[in-house]
Amino acid sequence: MNDKAILSVTGLRARVAEEDLDILRGVDLNIRPGETHAIMGPNGSGKSTLAKVVAGHPAYQVTAGSVAFQGEDLLEMEPDERSQAGIFMAFQYPIAIPGVSIANFLRTALQARLGDDEELDLFDFQELLMERMELLDMDPSFAQRPINDGFSGGEKKRNEILQMSVLKPALALMDETDSGLDIDALKIVAHGVNTLREENPDMSVLLITHYQRILNHVIPDVVHVMYRGRIVESGGPEVAMELEARGYEEYRIAHAV
């Protein structure tokens, strides 16, 4: 347990509810305010599971360990409570909600953060939304489209970053946000994330990725390698470079069951 950490994961084991096998098999991770961590690892290593467990996805069951966020026991909280506490997850596969516009959705989400007796100022909201859409190179008409309904892959990912930039989390979990993006879209997304980091130097980011590519644009403080449900190596950005050159073969040998 690290007192200074915004997110403190200790000995975390988790599985898909009602299945027999743990996917996370003892994860330890501390992220301090303002830090950007990247987690890399091969398919099935548990990277996305870690993000979903932190965000509170109901399909997963924690079997051991703890997760604290700003000193609070996160595992006791509902997904909406975690969001209100300052956690945001950019989904790997964003969900379409037909008939609900992005603007309506974000207005409802911001209003939910206020008390019952406090009314969201709609002009301020509109201004914020338009400014954020410009930052992400999105057409203003985008706000009236139903959430992710008929969006291209790139539009979905951009929409995730738009939501993140409006909700201004203390901890952003980015679950393979870079996958499926061409280099131009990747740069726009990275620019959005970096702008948010500049605005709020205390914002922490946990970036889950397969590829080193995005780390050229969003520079991490710490890079972790996850393998078979555990973090097996941590270091600076050089770890990502080495992985890119060598692949996961050595972990495969070292952690063979």
Binding site: A55, G56, H57, P58, A59, E78, P79, D80, R82, S83, Q84, F88, M89, F91, P94, I95, I97, P98, G99, V100, N104, F105, L106, T108, A109, A112, R113, P146, Q163, L167
Partner: protein, 470 residues
């Protein structure tokens, strides 16, 4: 074969098939019961009406209660849900206007619903099957618009009544409940819009039923002459009832060349309400006859809607929206009859069902011989919010012309955990998340609702239901 003969044949076949099969209900006795008391309070009526009622009563008696063995009633088990025996006729037994309060005042819930209506060109208030108040803007009356209670209209002797009431649109031969209504109706609305008169604001019918265990029979007859335009909102409310309380409504809509009618039904009865409606729309050349059925209340709601496209260029948009919870049961039986060529009809019914609510949609597009260049569409979509809720969707096509564009589609989907998690991960609580998903799902229909407070009313009612769901 003409329609009437076909209906008689159907009735005979059904009767032959089901003889001796009806348990519990004794329609015979109920008819006598209902008929006797309605006769005793009936004001003197013209001969044509008396004989029409008598013939309808004969037909009613000859038809058995539809059973689940007939295709059209397969999923709504009347023998279990409705005991005609136990019903007492409404209105007929209640002397004077505004019988519910006895002092001529409008019940509070109805008053509140009326206060939400933003603009009206006219309004009829109907309490327990009696029109107790009729108001119409003077300027419209001066232009020849007729808005009247059906009883008054009969007394006034407009020849349209003799030719159109329970003849072409909802005749007694249509079925047991159409016959029941044609025999026993106590009141209703007659609305006539003269040629070229276009109403900017809707005419409203505000209905209330106050007594448990009663049966109420109401008819609505609307005639829009050439190139006229009218929108009519028919809203019904009631308190919760301990006993099954029947409302049987016949709606007959005629749009002449180039005219436009929009009919909206807002069914917001309380628990125990059994709402039955037979709606027929007859659209002539280049006319538009749109309907919208909103079912939110009552324990059972059954709407039979038949849209007939009778002239080239006729158009019917048919919208439906339902949201059931607890053990509510909604059954929609629709047909789009393309008799004339070059006509267009588009049906969209969407419903959300929670708890152990049940939704049934059965629709058919019939393109008659010679109805070339028909454009007809039919879509029914259901969203289940609970494991116990169920929806049955049976779209159908019967096409006897070769140059047509028709399509139909039906879906039944679940409220999925991924959608809820996605919304909750942005800080919405479960209730807010469900609300967004349901309103989003129904939004496709809500977006097409007419102005004048209908959208707000329906949205509010849905939100109230979502609020107490869990």
């Amino acid at each position: 074969m003409n329609r009437l003969a076909a209906a008689r044949r159907r009735a005979r076949e059904a009767g032959a098939e089901e003889q001796g099969q009806i348990e519990g209900a004794s329609p015979e006795r109920a008819t006598k019961n209902v008929a006797r008391s309605s006769e005793s309070t009936r004001v003197p009526e013209p001969d044509w009406l008396k004989s029409r009622r008598d013939a309808a009563l004969e037909l009613y008696r000859s038809m058995p209660l539809p059973s689940t063995r007939s295709e059209e009633w397969r999923y709504t088990d009347l023998a279990r849900m409705l005991r005609l025996d136990d019903l007492v006729p409404s209105a007929g037994a209640q002397p004077g206007p505004a019988s519910s309060n006895g002092d001529g005042t409008v019940p509070e819930p109805l008053r509140r619903a009326m206060a939400q209506d933003r603009d009206s060109a006219g309004r009829v208030i109907d309490i327990d099957g009696s029109a107790v108040s009729v108001e119409l803007q003077d300027s419209l009356a001066a232009q020849g618009v007729v808005l009247s209670s059906l009883r008054e209209a009969v007394r006034g002797g407009d020849p349209l009544l003799e030719s159109l009431l329970a003849t072409m649109a909802v005749p007694a031969s249509d079925g047991k409940f159409a016959a029941m209504n044609a025999a026993l109706w106590t009141d209703g609305v007659f609305l006539k819009i003269p040629r070229n008169v276009q109403l900017e604001r809707p005419i409203r019918l505000s209905r209330w039923v106050s007594h448990p265990g009663t049966a109420t029979f109401t008819r609505i007859l609307i005639v829009a002459e050439d190139h006229s335009r009218v929108s009519f909102v028919d809203e019904i409310l009631s308190p919760d009832f301990e006993a099954v309380t029947l409302v049987n409504t016949a709606v007959e809509l005629f749009s002449h060349a180039g005219a436009q009618i929009q009919y909206v039904s807002l069914q917001r009865m309380g628990k125990g309400g059994f709402y039955l409606a037979n709606q027929r729309t007859l659209a002539k050349r280049d006319s538009t006859l749109d309907t919208l059925n909103v079912a939110l209340g009552g324990s059972v709601g059954r709407v039979d809607l038949n849209a007939r496209l009778l002239g080239p260029g006729a158009n019917s948009d048919m919208l439906g929206l339902y949201f059931g919870d607890h053990d509510q049961h909604f059954d929609f039986n629709t047909s789009q009859d393309h008799v004339a060529p070059n006509a267009h009809s588009d049906l969209l019914y969407k419903g959300a069902l929670d708890d152990s609510a049940r939704g049934v949609f059965r629709g058919v597009i019939r393109v008659h011989e010679g109805a070339q260049r028909t454009d007809a569409y039919q879509t029914n979509r259901n969203l289940l919010l609970s494991e116990r809720a169920a929806a049955t969707s049976l779209p159908n096509l019967e096409i006897e012309a070769d140059d047509v564009r028709c399509s139909h589609g039906a879906t039944v989907g679940q409220l999925d955990a991924e959608s809820l998690f996605y919304l909750m991960s942005r800080g919405l609580d479960r209730e807010q998340a469900e609300r967004l998903v349901v309103l989003g799902f129904l939004g496709e229909v809500l977006d097409k609702l007419p102005m004048g407070g209908v959208v707000e009313k329906v949205t509010k009612a849905i939100e109230v239901k979502l609020g107490h769901v869990r």
